[in-house]
Protein backbone atom coordinates (compact mmCIF):
# COMPACT_ATOMS: atom_id res chain seq x y z
CA UNK A 1 0.00 0.00 0.00
CA UNK A 2 1.66 3.23 -1.09
CA UNK A 3 1.81 5.98 1.46
CA UNK A 4 -0.53 8.93 0.82
CA UNK A 5 2.45 11.23 0.46
CA UNK A 6 4.24 9.06 -2.13
CA UNK A 7 5.27 11.29 -5.01
CA UNK A 8 3.89 10.86 -8.49
CA UNK A 9 7.28 11.35 -10.05
CA UNK A 10 10.78 11.30 -8.70
CA UNK A 11 14.19 11.58 -10.27
CA UNK A 12 17.13 10.19 -8.37
CA UNK A 13 20.61 11.40 -9.23
CA UNK A 14 19.52 12.05 -12.80
CA UNK A 15 22.34 13.10 -15.08
CA UNK A 16 22.68 13.83 -18.75
CA UNK A 17 25.86 14.84 -20.54
CA UNK A 18 26.29 15.77 -24.20
CA UNK A 19 29.92 15.06 -24.95
CA UNK A 20 31.77 17.23 -22.47
CA UNK A 21 28.78 19.33 -21.54
CA UNK A 22 26.89 18.40 -18.36
CA UNK A 23 23.34 19.50 -19.17
CA UNK A 24 21.73 17.96 -16.12
CA UNK A 25 23.85 17.30 -13.04
CA UNK A 26 22.66 14.73 -10.54
CA UNK A 27 19.15 16.15 -10.16
CA UNK A 28 16.87 14.91 -7.40
CA UNK A 29 13.46 16.15 -8.38
CA UNK A 30 10.17 15.28 -6.77
CA UNK A 31 6.66 15.95 -7.99
CA UNK A 32 3.54 15.21 -5.97
CA UNK A 33 0.14 14.27 -7.27
CA UNK A 34 -2.14 17.18 -8.09
CA UNK A 35 0.60 19.79 -8.16
CA UNK A 36 1.06 22.55 -10.64
CA UNK A 37 4.84 22.90 -10.74
CA UNK A 38 6.79 25.33 -12.86
CA UNK A 39 10.47 24.91 -13.73
CA UNK A 40 12.17 28.22 -14.43
CA UNK A 41 15.71 29.29 -15.03
CA UNK A 42 17.96 31.00 -17.55
CA UNK A 43 18.59 29.58 -21.01
CA UNK A 44 20.84 26.56 -20.94
CA UNK A 45 19.90 25.71 -17.36
CA UNK A 46 18.88 22.21 -18.37
CA UNK A 47 15.11 22.61 -18.02
CA UNK A 48 14.15 21.13 -21.37
CA UNK A 49 16.75 18.40 -20.95
CA UNK A 50 15.23 17.45 -17.61
CA UNK A 51 11.77 17.38 -19.12
CA UNK A 52 13.02 15.26 -22.02
CA UNK A 53 14.59 12.84 -19.57
CA UNK A 54 11.32 12.55 -17.67
CA UNK A 55 9.31 11.98 -20.85
CA UNK A 56 11.78 9.50 -22.26
CA UNK A 57 12.90 11.50 -25.26
CA UNK A 58 16.43 11.33 -23.90
CA UNK A 59 18.28 8.60 -22.03
CA UNK A 60 20.13 9.66 -18.88
CA UNK A 61 23.83 9.08 -18.56
CA UNK A 62 23.24 8.23 -14.90
CA UNK A 63 20.44 8.11 -12.35
CA UNK A 64 16.85 7.00 -12.61
CA UNK A 65 13.31 8.15 -13.12
CA UNK A 66 10.65 6.75 -10.81
CA UNK A 67 6.99 7.14 -11.68
CA UNK A 68 4.23 5.96 -9.36
CA UNK A 69 6.79 3.93 -7.49
CA UNK A 70 8.09 2.17 -10.61
CA UNK A 71 11.51 2.64 -12.17
CA UNK A 72 10.73 3.72 -15.71
CA UNK A 73 14.24 4.77 -16.71
CA UNK A 74 14.52 2.05 -19.33
CA UNK A 75 11.05 2.66 -20.76
CA UNK A 76 10.93 4.33 -24.18
CA UNK A 77 8.97 7.53 -24.69
CA UNK A 78 5.95 5.93 -26.32
CA UNK A 79 5.54 3.54 -23.41
CA UNK A 80 5.56 6.43 -20.97
CA UNK A 81 2.67 8.06 -22.81
CA UNK A 82 0.65 4.93 -22.16
CA UNK A 83 1.56 5.30 -18.48
CA UNK A 84 0.11 8.78 -18.50
CA UNK A 85 3.12 11.01 -19.07
CA UNK A 86 2.07 13.33 -21.87
CA UNK A 87 4.29 15.99 -23.43
CA UNK A 88 3.72 19.08 -25.54
CA UNK A 89 6.53 20.53 -27.62
CA UNK A 90 8.27 23.84 -27.18
CA UNK A 91 7.57 24.70 -30.80
CA UNK A 92 4.10 23.48 -31.63
CA UNK A 93 4.19 20.10 -33.32
CA UNK A 94 0.93 19.03 -34.90
CA UNK A 95 0.02 17.33 -38.18
CA UNK A 96 -0.16 20.34 -40.42
CA UNK A 97 -1.57 18.51 -43.43
CA UNK A 98 -4.31 16.72 -41.51
CA UNK A 99 -7.57 18.14 -40.21
CA UNK A 100 -7.98 19.25 -36.63
CA UNK A 101 -10.34 16.34 -36.13
CA UNK A 102 -7.84 13.82 -37.49
CA UNK A 103 -5.10 15.29 -35.29
CA UNK A 104 -7.06 14.63 -32.14
CA UNK A 105 -8.41 11.39 -33.60
CA UNK A 106 -4.89 10.00 -33.73
CA UNK A 107 -4.45 10.73 -30.05
CA UNK A 108 -7.79 9.16 -29.20
CA UNK A 109 -7.29 6.05 -31.26
CA UNK A 110 -4.13 5.10 -29.44
CA UNK A 111 -6.19 4.52 -26.33
CA UNK A 112 -8.76 2.49 -28.24
CA UNK A 113 -6.34 0.40 -30.31
CA UNK A 114 -5.80 -2.09 -27.57
CA UNK A 115 -5.58 -5.30 -29.51
CA UNK A 116 -4.63 -6.57 -32.97
CA UNK A 117 -8.24 -6.48 -34.09
CA UNK A 118 -8.57 -2.84 -33.29
CA UNK A 119 -5.75 -2.08 -35.64
CA UNK A 120 -8.10 -2.90 -38.47
CA UNK A 121 -11.34 -1.30 -37.36
CA UNK A 122 -12.51 0.94 -34.59
CA UNK A 123 -15.91 2.21 -33.72
CA UNK A 124 -15.98 5.63 -35.39
CA UNK A 125 -18.63 6.85 -32.97
CA UNK A 126 -16.39 6.20 -29.99
CA UNK A 127 -13.57 8.10 -31.62
CA UNK A 128 -15.72 11.01 -32.73
CA UNK A 129 -17.22 11.37 -29.26
CA UNK A 130 -13.88 11.69 -27.52
CA UNK A 131 -12.52 13.97 -30.21
CA UNK A 132 -15.44 16.27 -29.77
CA UNK A 133 -15.00 16.35 -26.00
CA UNK A 134 -11.34 17.28 -26.26
CA UNK A 135 -11.92 19.94 -28.90
CA UNK A 136 -14.82 21.37 -26.97
CA UNK A 137 -12.74 21.68 -23.84
CA UNK A 138 -10.09 23.80 -25.56
CA UNK A 139 -12.65 25.72 -27.60
CA UNK A 140 -11.74 24.44 -31.06
CA UNK A 141 -14.87 22.40 -31.79
CA UNK A 142 -15.88 24.73 -34.63
CA UNK A 143 -12.55 24.27 -36.42
CA UNK A 144 -12.62 20.49 -36.62
CA UNK A 145 -12.57 20.25 -40.42
CA UNK A 146 -9.81 22.77 -40.95
CA UNK A 147 -6.28 21.75 -41.83
CA UNK A 148 -4.13 22.18 -38.76
CA UNK A 149 -1.44 24.01 -40.72
CA UNK A 150 -3.84 26.81 -41.57
CA UNK A 151 -4.75 27.55 -37.99
CA UNK A 152 -3.19 30.59 -36.33
CA UNK A 153 -0.32 29.66 -34.03
CA UNK A 154 -2.30 30.17 -30.84
CA UNK A 155 -4.97 27.79 -32.07
CA UNK A 156 -2.35 25.24 -33.03
CA UNK A 157 -1.14 25.37 -29.45
CA UNK A 158 -4.69 24.75 -28.27
CA UNK A 159 -4.92 21.86 -30.71
CA UNK A 160 -1.81 20.39 -29.15
CA UNK A 161 -3.38 20.70 -25.72
CA UNK A 162 -6.49 18.98 -27.04
CA UNK A 163 -4.34 16.14 -28.33
CA UNK A 164 -2.67 15.95 -24.93
CA UNK A 165 -6.04 15.83 -23.20
CA UNK A 166 -7.23 13.10 -25.53
CA UNK A 167 -4.20 11.05 -24.50
CA UNK A 168 -5.57 10.73 -20.95
CA UNK A 169 -2.69 12.40 -19.15
CA UNK A 170 -1.90 11.89 -15.50
CA UNK A 171 1.26 13.94 -15.71
CA UNK A 172 1.08 16.69 -18.29
CA UNK A 173 4.50 18.09 -19.22
CA UNK A 174 4.32 21.41 -21.04
CA UNK A 175 7.43 22.93 -22.59
CA UNK A 176 7.01 26.71 -22.73
CA UNK A 177 3.32 26.56 -23.63
CA UNK A 178 2.79 30.32 -23.75
CA UNK A 179 5.67 31.01 -26.12
CA UNK A 180 4.48 32.73 -29.27
CA UNK A 181 1.02 33.49 -27.95
CA UNK A 182 -0.72 36.85 -27.76
CA UNK A 183 -1.63 38.14 -24.25
CA UNK A 184 -5.31 37.23 -24.46
CA UNK A 185 -4.39 33.77 -25.74
CA UNK A 186 -2.02 33.37 -22.79
CA UNK A 187 -4.78 34.22 -20.35
CA UNK A 188 -7.03 31.66 -22.00
CA UNK A 189 -4.35 29.00 -21.92
CA UNK A 190 -3.57 29.67 -18.26
CA UNK A 191 -7.24 29.24 -17.40
CA UNK A 192 -7.34 26.02 -19.40
CA UNK A 193 -4.29 24.63 -17.66
CA UNK A 194 -5.76 25.46 -14.30
CA UNK A 195 -8.86 23.58 -15.33
CA UNK A 196 -6.85 20.57 -16.45
CA UNK A 197 -4.99 20.51 -13.16
CA UNK A 198 -8.15 19.22 -11.51
CA UNK A 199 -7.59 15.87 -13.19
CA UNK A 200 -3.89 15.82 -14.00
CA UNK A 201 -0.62 16.84 -12.40
CA UNK A 202 0.98 19.68 -14.31
CA UNK A 203 4.69 20.22 -14.87
CA UNK A 204 5.64 23.16 -17.00
CA UNK A 205 8.68 25.03 -18.19
CA UNK A 206 7.98 28.70 -18.56
CA UNK A 207 9.73 31.99 -19.16
CA UNK A 208 6.61 34.07 -18.81
CA UNK A 209 6.86 35.00 -15.12
CA UNK A 210 3.31 36.25 -14.89
CA UNK A 211 1.94 32.94 -16.08
CA UNK A 212 4.25 31.14 -13.69
CA UNK A 213 3.10 33.16 -10.72
CA UNK A 214 -0.54 32.88 -11.73
CA UNK A 215 -0.52 29.16 -12.17
CA UNK A 216 2.00 27.40 -10.07
CA UNK A 217 1.76 26.48 -6.47
CA UNK A 218 5.41 25.51 -6.33
CA UNK A 219 8.35 26.59 -8.42
CA UNK A 220 11.62 24.81 -9.12
CA UNK A 221 14.51 26.99 -10.21
CA UNK A 222 17.32 25.51 -12.27
CA UNK A 223 20.67 26.92 -13.23
CA UNK A 224 23.59 25.29 -14.95
CA UNK A 225 22.13 21.80 -14.76
CA UNK A 226 21.17 21.80 -11.08
CA UNK A 227 18.18 22.78 -8.98
CA UNK A 228 19.17 25.85 -7.01
CA UNK A 229 15.88 26.56 -5.29
CA UNK A 230 12.43 25.16 -4.77
CA UNK A 231 9.40 26.58 -3.04
CA UNK A 232 6.24 28.63 -3.22
CA UNK A 233 6.20 31.69 -5.49
CA UNK A 234 6.70 33.97 -2.51
CA UNK A 235 9.68 31.99 -1.28
CA UNK A 236 11.25 31.98 -4.71
CA UNK A 237 10.79 35.69 -5.22
CA UNK A 238 12.59 36.34 -1.96
CA UNK A 239 15.40 33.86 -2.59
CA UNK A 240 18.80 35.54 -2.92
CA UNK A 241 20.30 32.84 -5.18
CA UNK A 242 17.41 33.18 -7.59
CA UNK A 243 17.78 36.93 -7.71
CA UNK A 244 21.45 36.57 -8.44
CA UNK A 245 20.89 34.11 -11.25
CA UNK A 246 18.26 36.25 -12.89
CA UNK A 247 19.60 39.67 -12.23
CA UNK A 248 23.30 38.86 -12.59
CA UNK A 249 26.01 39.60 -10.11
Amino acid sequence: MAAISAPLLETVGLQRAFGGLQAVRSVNFRLDRGEIRAIIGPNGAGKTTLLNLICGRLRPTAGRVVYKGQNITARPAHDRVALGIVYTFQIVSVYRNLTVEENVGLAVRRLLMQGPLHHFAINPQAVAGRVHDALHRVGLAAAKDQLAGYLPYGHQRLLEVAMALASAPQLLALDEPTQGLAPDEIAGLVALIRDISKTATILLIEHNMQAVLDLSRRITVMDNGSIIAEGTPAEIEANADVQRVYLGG
Binding site: F18, G19, L58, R59
Partner: protein, 287 residues
Amino acid sequence: MSLEGQLFLALLEGAVSGLVLALMALGLSLVFGVMRIVNVAHGEFYMLGAVLAWYLATTANFLVALVAAPLIVGGVALASDRLVLRPIKYAPEATIVATIGLLYIFQQLVLSIYGPYARSIAPPVYFRVDLPWFGYSGYKIIVAGLAALLLAATWLLVTRTRLGLYMRATQQDREIAQAFGVPVERIYAAAFALGAVLAALAGVLVLPIQQAHYLMGLDPLLLSFMVVIIGGLGSLKGTLAAAILIGLVDGLVSVFFTPTLARIVASILVAMVLVLRTEGLYGEGAG
Protein backbone atom coordinates in the same frame (compact mmCIF):
# COMPACT_ATOMS: atom_id res chain seq x y z
CA MET B 1 54.85 -15.80 -58.97
CA SER B 2 55.66 -16.48 -55.36
CA LEU B 3 53.20 -15.63 -52.64
CA GLU B 4 55.17 -12.65 -51.48
CA GLY B 5 55.33 -11.45 -55.04
CA GLN B 6 51.59 -11.77 -55.40
CA LEU B 7 51.12 -10.01 -52.12
CA PHE B 8 53.38 -7.16 -53.06
CA LEU B 9 51.69 -6.81 -56.41
CA ALA B 10 48.28 -6.71 -54.75
CA LEU B 11 49.53 -4.07 -52.32
CA LEU B 12 51.07 -1.97 -55.03
CA GLU B 13 47.95 -2.16 -57.17
CA GLY B 14 45.89 -1.39 -54.09
CA ALA B 15 47.96 1.66 -53.27
CA VAL B 16 47.64 3.05 -56.79
CA SER B 17 43.91 2.46 -56.98
CA GLY B 18 43.55 3.67 -53.42
CA LEU B 19 45.07 7.03 -54.25
CA VAL B 20 42.92 7.41 -57.33
CA LEU B 21 39.91 6.38 -55.28
CA ALA B 22 40.88 8.96 -52.67
CA LEU B 23 40.70 11.63 -55.34
CA MET B 24 37.26 10.56 -56.40
CA ALA B 25 35.98 10.03 -52.88
CA LEU B 26 37.25 13.45 -51.89
CA GLY B 27 35.04 14.96 -54.54
CA LEU B 28 32.05 13.06 -53.20
CA SER B 29 32.91 13.98 -49.64
CA LEU B 30 33.09 17.67 -50.49
CA VAL B 31 29.67 17.56 -52.05
CA PHE B 32 28.30 15.52 -49.16
CA GLY B 33 29.82 17.80 -46.60
CA VAL B 34 29.22 21.25 -48.03
CA MET B 35 25.90 20.69 -49.75
CA ARG B 36 24.52 17.93 -47.56
CA ILE B 37 23.40 15.94 -50.58
CA VAL B 38 24.17 12.54 -52.01
CA ASN B 39 25.25 12.77 -55.63
CA VAL B 40 24.49 9.41 -57.19
CA ALA B 41 25.81 10.67 -60.52
CA HIS B 42 29.29 11.21 -59.13
CA GLY B 43 30.59 8.09 -60.85
CA GLU B 44 29.32 9.47 -64.15
CA PHE B 45 31.56 12.51 -63.81
CA TYR B 46 34.44 10.03 -63.53
CA MET B 47 33.19 8.25 -66.62
CA LEU B 48 32.71 11.51 -68.53
CA GLY B 49 36.27 12.49 -67.63
CA ALA B 50 37.62 9.26 -69.06
CA VAL B 51 35.48 9.37 -72.22
CA LEU B 52 36.23 13.03 -72.95
CA ALA B 53 39.91 12.34 -72.29
CA TRP B 54 39.79 9.58 -74.86
CA TYR B 55 38.42 11.96 -77.49
CA LEU B 56 40.89 14.70 -76.61
CA ALA B 57 43.89 12.42 -76.29
CA THR B 58 43.27 10.77 -79.62
CA THR B 59 42.65 14.02 -81.46
CA ALA B 60 45.22 16.14 -79.64
CA ASN B 61 47.35 14.79 -76.83
CA PHE B 62 47.15 13.56 -73.28
CA LEU B 63 48.16 16.83 -71.69
CA VAL B 64 45.31 18.62 -73.40
CA ALA B 65 43.01 15.88 -72.16
CA LEU B 66 44.32 16.19 -68.62
CA VAL B 67 43.52 19.87 -68.52
CA ALA B 68 40.46 20.20 -70.74
CA ALA B 69 38.42 17.12 -69.84
CA PRO B 70 38.03 17.96 -66.12
CA LEU B 71 37.15 21.55 -66.99
CA ILE B 72 34.44 20.43 -69.39
CA VAL B 73 33.05 18.04 -66.81
CA GLY B 74 33.13 20.86 -64.28
CA GLY B 75 31.01 22.88 -66.67
CA VAL B 76 28.53 20.03 -67.00
CA ALA B 77 28.34 19.90 -63.21
CA LEU B 78 27.68 23.62 -62.97
CA ALA B 79 24.89 23.29 -65.51
CA SER B 80 23.38 20.35 -63.60
CA ASP B 81 23.49 22.32 -60.39
CA ARG B 82 21.84 25.34 -61.92
CA LEU B 83 19.20 23.53 -63.95
CA VAL B 84 18.27 20.66 -61.68
CA LEU B 85 19.61 20.83 -58.15
CA ARG B 86 18.98 24.44 -57.35
CA PRO B 87 15.30 24.36 -58.43
CA ILE B 88 14.63 21.44 -56.12
CA LYS B 89 16.41 23.35 -53.37
CA TYR B 90 18.84 20.53 -52.61
CA ALA B 91 16.15 18.62 -50.69
CA PRO B 92 17.88 15.37 -49.66
CA GLU B 93 15.63 12.68 -51.09
CA ALA B 94 14.60 14.70 -54.12
CA THR B 95 18.27 15.26 -54.94
CA ILE B 96 18.94 11.56 -54.88
CA VAL B 97 16.10 10.96 -57.32
CA ALA B 98 17.30 13.80 -59.54
CA THR B 99 20.91 12.65 -59.56
CA ILE B 100 19.78 9.13 -60.43
CA GLY B 101 18.08 10.75 -63.38
CA LEU B 102 21.29 12.57 -64.29
CA LEU B 103 23.13 9.28 -64.02
CA TYR B 104 20.95 7.69 -66.65
CA ILE B 105 21.05 10.73 -68.89
CA PHE B 106 24.85 10.93 -68.87
CA GLN B 107 25.25 7.21 -69.27
CA GLN B 108 22.86 6.97 -72.14
CA LEU B 109 24.19 10.05 -73.94
CA VAL B 110 27.63 8.50 -73.85
CA LEU B 111 26.16 5.22 -75.06
CA SER B 112 24.58 6.95 -78.03
CA ILE B 113 27.51 9.09 -79.00
CA TYR B 114 30.56 7.12 -77.90
CA GLY B 115 28.99 3.72 -78.23
CA PRO B 116 29.06 0.62 -76.07
CA TYR B 117 32.76 0.11 -76.68
CA ALA B 118 35.56 -0.01 -74.16
CA ARG B 119 38.44 1.99 -75.48
CA SER B 120 41.77 2.96 -74.08
CA ILE B 121 44.89 4.84 -75.05
CA ALA B 122 48.55 4.08 -74.68
CA PRO B 123 50.16 5.54 -71.58
CA PRO B 124 51.60 8.99 -72.35
CA VAL B 125 54.75 8.06 -70.53
CA TYR B 126 55.99 4.54 -70.69
CA PHE B 127 58.78 3.02 -68.69
CA ARG B 128 59.17 -0.09 -66.68
CA VAL B 129 60.16 -0.37 -63.07
CA ASP B 130 61.85 -3.66 -62.42
CA LEU B 131 61.08 -5.24 -59.11
CA PRO B 132 62.38 -8.60 -57.83
CA TRP B 133 59.17 -10.41 -58.70
CA PHE B 134 57.74 -8.53 -61.63
CA GLY B 135 58.03 -5.50 -63.85
CA TYR B 136 55.67 -2.73 -62.99
CA SER B 137 54.23 0.01 -65.19
CA GLY B 138 56.01 3.30 -64.57
CA TYR B 139 52.89 5.16 -65.62
CA LYS B 140 50.93 3.69 -62.75
CA ILE B 141 53.51 5.04 -60.35
CA ILE B 142 53.19 8.44 -61.98
CA VAL B 143 49.43 8.20 -61.59
CA ALA B 144 49.88 7.53 -57.90
CA GLY B 145 52.19 10.50 -57.64
CA LEU B 146 49.89 12.81 -59.54
CA ALA B 147 46.92 11.69 -57.49
CA ALA B 148 48.80 12.42 -54.29
CA LEU B 149 49.77 15.83 -55.68
CA LEU B 150 46.19 16.65 -56.58
CA LEU B 151 45.00 15.54 -53.16
CA ALA B 152 47.54 17.86 -51.58
CA ALA B 153 46.47 20.69 -53.86
CA THR B 154 42.84 20.19 -52.89
CA TRP B 155 43.79 20.13 -49.24
CA LEU B 156 45.55 23.45 -49.71
CA LEU B 157 42.55 24.84 -51.51
CA VAL B 158 40.20 23.85 -48.74
CA THR B 159 42.37 24.94 -45.84
CA ARG B 160 44.30 27.92 -47.20
CA THR B 161 42.08 29.78 -49.64
CA ARG B 162 39.07 31.95 -49.15
CA LEU B 163 36.96 29.63 -51.26
CA GLY B 164 37.96 26.80 -49.01
CA LEU B 165 37.13 28.87 -45.97
CA TYR B 166 33.69 29.63 -47.33
CA MET B 167 33.16 25.96 -48.06
CA ARG B 168 34.14 24.93 -44.57
CA ALA B 169 31.93 27.62 -43.08
CA THR B 170 28.96 26.50 -45.15
CA GLN B 171 29.62 22.94 -44.15
CA GLN B 172 29.64 23.82 -40.46
CA ASP B 173 26.52 25.91 -40.39
CA ARG B 174 24.79 27.12 -43.52
CA GLU B 175 22.61 29.72 -41.84
CA ILE B 176 25.37 31.37 -39.90
CA ALA B 177 27.61 31.37 -42.95
CA GLN B 178 24.87 33.12 -44.86
CA ALA B 179 24.48 35.62 -42.06
CA PHE B 180 28.17 36.38 -42.36
CA GLY B 181 27.81 37.15 -46.04
CA VAL B 182 29.01 33.88 -47.54
CA PRO B 183 27.35 33.50 -50.96
CA VAL B 184 26.02 30.07 -50.12
CA GLU B 185 24.39 29.29 -53.46
CA ARG B 186 27.58 30.04 -55.35
CA ILE B 187 29.58 28.02 -52.88
CA TYR B 188 27.25 25.11 -53.49
CA ALA B 189 27.84 25.43 -57.23
CA ALA B 190 31.58 25.67 -56.68
CA ALA B 191 31.62 22.62 -54.43
CA PHE B 192 29.59 20.60 -56.88
CA ALA B 193 31.86 21.61 -59.75
CA LEU B 194 34.98 20.90 -57.72
CA GLY B 195 33.68 17.47 -56.80
CA ALA B 196 33.02 16.72 -60.45
CA VAL B 197 36.46 17.98 -61.49
CA LEU B 198 38.14 15.70 -58.96
CA ALA B 199 36.18 12.71 -60.22
CA ALA B 200 36.94 13.61 -63.84
CA LEU B 201 40.64 13.94 -63.05
CA ALA B 202 40.57 10.45 -61.63
CA GLY B 203 38.89 9.27 -64.82
CA VAL B 204 41.49 10.91 -67.03
CA LEU B 205 44.36 9.45 -65.03
CA VAL B 206 43.08 5.89 -65.25
CA LEU B 207 42.30 6.02 -68.97
CA PRO B 208 45.64 4.53 -70.05
CA ILE B 209 45.34 1.87 -67.34
CA GLN B 210 41.72 0.88 -67.77
CA GLN B 211 39.27 1.39 -70.56
CA ALA B 212 36.72 4.10 -71.01
CA HIS B 213 33.28 2.53 -71.06
CA TYR B 214 29.87 4.02 -70.49
CA LEU B 215 29.24 1.82 -67.45
CA MET B 216 32.61 2.38 -65.80
CA GLY B 217 31.26 4.81 -63.24
CA LEU B 218 29.21 2.42 -61.15
CA ASP B 219 31.91 0.45 -59.39
CA PRO B 220 33.98 3.49 -58.36
CA LEU B 221 30.78 5.13 -57.16
CA LEU B 222 30.10 2.29 -54.77
CA LEU B 223 33.68 2.34 -53.57
CA SER B 224 33.57 6.12 -53.11
CA PHE B 225 30.41 5.77 -51.06
CA MET B 226 32.18 3.30 -48.85
CA VAL B 227 35.17 5.56 -48.41
CA VAL B 228 33.06 8.55 -47.49
CA ILE B 229 30.82 6.68 -45.09
CA ILE B 230 33.63 4.85 -43.37
CA GLY B 231 36.12 7.68 -43.49
CA GLY B 232 33.66 10.22 -42.19
CA LEU B 233 32.16 13.17 -43.92
CA GLY B 234 34.19 16.24 -44.60
CA SER B 235 37.29 14.77 -43.05
CA LEU B 236 40.10 14.88 -45.60
CA LYS B 237 42.39 12.71 -43.53
CA GLY B 238 39.62 10.22 -42.91
CA THR B 239 38.82 10.10 -46.61
CA LEU B 240 42.44 9.51 -47.53
CA ALA B 241 42.93 6.85 -44.88
CA ALA B 242 39.71 5.04 -45.75
CA ALA B 243 40.47 5.20 -49.48
CA ILE B 244 43.90 3.67 -49.09
CA LEU B 245 42.51 1.04 -46.76
CA ILE B 246 39.63 0.16 -49.05
CA GLY B 247 41.90 0.22 -52.10
CA LEU B 248 44.28 -2.18 -50.41
CA VAL B 249 41.63 -4.51 -49.05
CA ASP B 250 39.75 -4.52 -52.33
CA GLY B 251 42.96 -5.35 -54.16
CA LEU B 252 43.83 -8.13 -51.77
CA VAL B 253 40.41 -9.73 -51.66
CA SER B 254 40.02 -9.50 -55.42
CA VAL B 255 43.35 -11.20 -56.01
CA PHE B 256 42.94 -13.92 -53.42
CA PHE B 257 39.20 -14.44 -53.54
CA THR B 258 36.76 -13.07 -56.07
CA PRO B 259 35.76 -9.49 -56.84
CA THR B 260 32.13 -10.39 -56.24
CA LEU B 261 32.84 -11.53 -52.72
CA ALA B 262 34.86 -8.38 -52.14
CA ARG B 263 31.90 -6.28 -53.17
CA ILE B 264 29.53 -8.27 -50.98
CA VAL B 265 31.68 -7.82 -47.91
CA ALA B 266 32.20 -4.14 -48.65
CA SER B 267 28.47 -3.48 -49.09
CA ILE B 268 27.63 -5.19 -45.81
CA LEU B 269 30.37 -3.21 -44.11
CA VAL B 270 29.05 0.11 -45.36
CA ALA B 271 25.47 -0.76 -44.41
CA MET B 272 26.41 -1.81 -40.91
CA VAL B 273 28.53 1.29 -40.33
CA LEU B 274 25.56 3.44 -41.22
CA VAL B 275 23.14 1.38 -39.18
CA LEU B 276 25.26 1.34 -36.07
CA ARG B 277 26.34 4.94 -36.19
CA THR B 278 24.19 6.64 -33.61
CA GLU B 279 25.18 10.10 -34.64
CA GLY B 280 23.53 9.86 -38.03
CA LEU B 281 24.87 10.33 -41.51
CA TYR B 282 26.26 13.81 -41.00
CA GLY B 283 27.58 13.36 -37.51
CA GLU B 284 24.70 15.33 -36.09
CA GLY B 285 22.36 14.41 -33.31
CA ALA B 286 23.14 12.54 -30.13
CA GLY B 287 21.32 9.85 -28.23
